[in-house]
Symmetry: C2
């Protein structure tokens, strides 16, 4: 039994109970969708069709529709699948941005999700003029983005790099089957820095997250590489130490 419920003298008056419909801020969900394409980290952008910022590139997203989505997460996932067609993306909530001046239409809050997908799994809806992959340059992209999306994108790039130091999430940027050199290359592309092969392999194998697949890959010249698959797609694993950015 809940003892607090038996006390009769509750006097706390919460603002929670005083809000009227007109006081609600706008609430939207935006997505930062990363992939590796052409040896480069790229982010999915859409071109705004209407004011404000008509014609500018922006992160995909939009107002949450209470009648349609049961939760923020569901909303984010739906929009991600709509835009990319990806079935099993890596999706994680990043941060919520809200203020009176980030959108000229009024007080707006947006919860931003962070997604990683394999390039070959995506089938973009819409043409190149309205939806496209855009290469990252440092923490941003070349074109000027709508709203505060440049700052959001910078936060996302930062988050990606720091999570890469102690988690396995980079595997979600690769197709289901990949080689260790490919995985290492993915890290190097994001860190913009070469890593030591021996240390990298030790780290990955010790984490015990990959399983070998009998069969080899050859394509280019040189010795063929063993193909691996990410073992436990759900289990979150951490490296005991962080990857050093000072390598080689």
């Amino acid at each position: 039994m809940n003892i607090s419920a038996t006390e009769p003298d509750a006097v706390e008056v919460s603002h929670r109970d005083q809000a009227s419909q007109s006081e609600k801020p706008f609430f939207s969900v935006d997505l930062v969708i990363f992939t590796i394409r052409e040896e480069c980290l790229q982010v999915l952008l859409v071109k705004r069709a209407e004011a404000p910022f008509k014609g500018r590139w922006a992160l995909p997203g939009g107002f949450l529709e209470p009648g349609r989505d049961d939760s923020i997460e569901v909303c984010a996932m739906r929009r991600l699948i709509e835009k990319t067609g990806v079935q099993t993306p890596y999706l994680e909530q990043m941060k919520t941005y809200g203020s009176c001046n980030r959108d000229p239409r009024g007080w707006t809050a947006t919860t931003v999700y962070f997604a990683l997908i394999a390039q070959d799994s995506a089938r973009l809806r819409g043409n190149q003029a309205t939806v496209r992959w855009t290469p990252m340059q440092g923490d941003g992209v070349k074109s000027e983005l709508a709203f505060d999306h440049a700052a959001i994108l910078a936060d996302a790039a930062d988050r990606l790099r720091s999570k890469l130091e102690y988690t396995h999430i980079a595997v979600h940027l690769l197709p289901e089957e990949f080689t260790l050199p490919e995985l290492q290359r993915t890290y190097e592309i994001i860190f913009q820095q070469p890593l030591d092969k021996s240390s990298f392999r030790r780290r990955v194998t010790q984490a015990d997250m990959l399983e070998e697949i009998s069969g080899k890959q050859r394509e280019g010249p040189g010795r063929p590489a063993q193909i691996y698959r990410f073992r436990d797609y759900d289990r979150r694993t951490f490296f005991p130490r962080s990857i050093s950015r000072h390598a080689r």
Copy 2:
């Protein structure tokens, strides 16, 4: 010049531009405020004065008021100061929870902030019957909380512990001046595990975040301890390795 702005054929129709006032979800800000009190991690709870969950204990917070707060962060800070009187709290955004069923009044999203304060800096507004510190037991508290606040609190406790492994935030649970044994004790209370004195001190001093204060503390028996002050209140520093929970 922004090349994308010169393209005239934008056709992307964003849901962002279709929301009407009636479709907005409720939006609130809630706080998980931790302190160390009586050798125990405690969280600030308030008793709900009105339905839903009237009489139940809940995390402090309430609907965001667009006319009053310029941003989510400002709203969280204002409510924190209102409740505790603390001037320089550690405040960090944690996560946003939003769904159709977490509040019987309708679709609600809440952005939860995470605060650490020193016990002696707080002056609670309201009496013991409506606002009080509650000791944590594992990832929760004894009483049943309103809404999904038990799950939120568990997430916050988890976050606190994992951040403690690689950051200095525990200093914010202590008064401005403190000794190393006191700091170590704070870690031990939260981890619920003794730590090795030598390793702990090496770790803290190597991080170079504390400065000695000339003057000593004696109180109890035994050799007096050096008093320190947290050096750079803003700079975020990280330990090179995580604190092991296997210590001792």
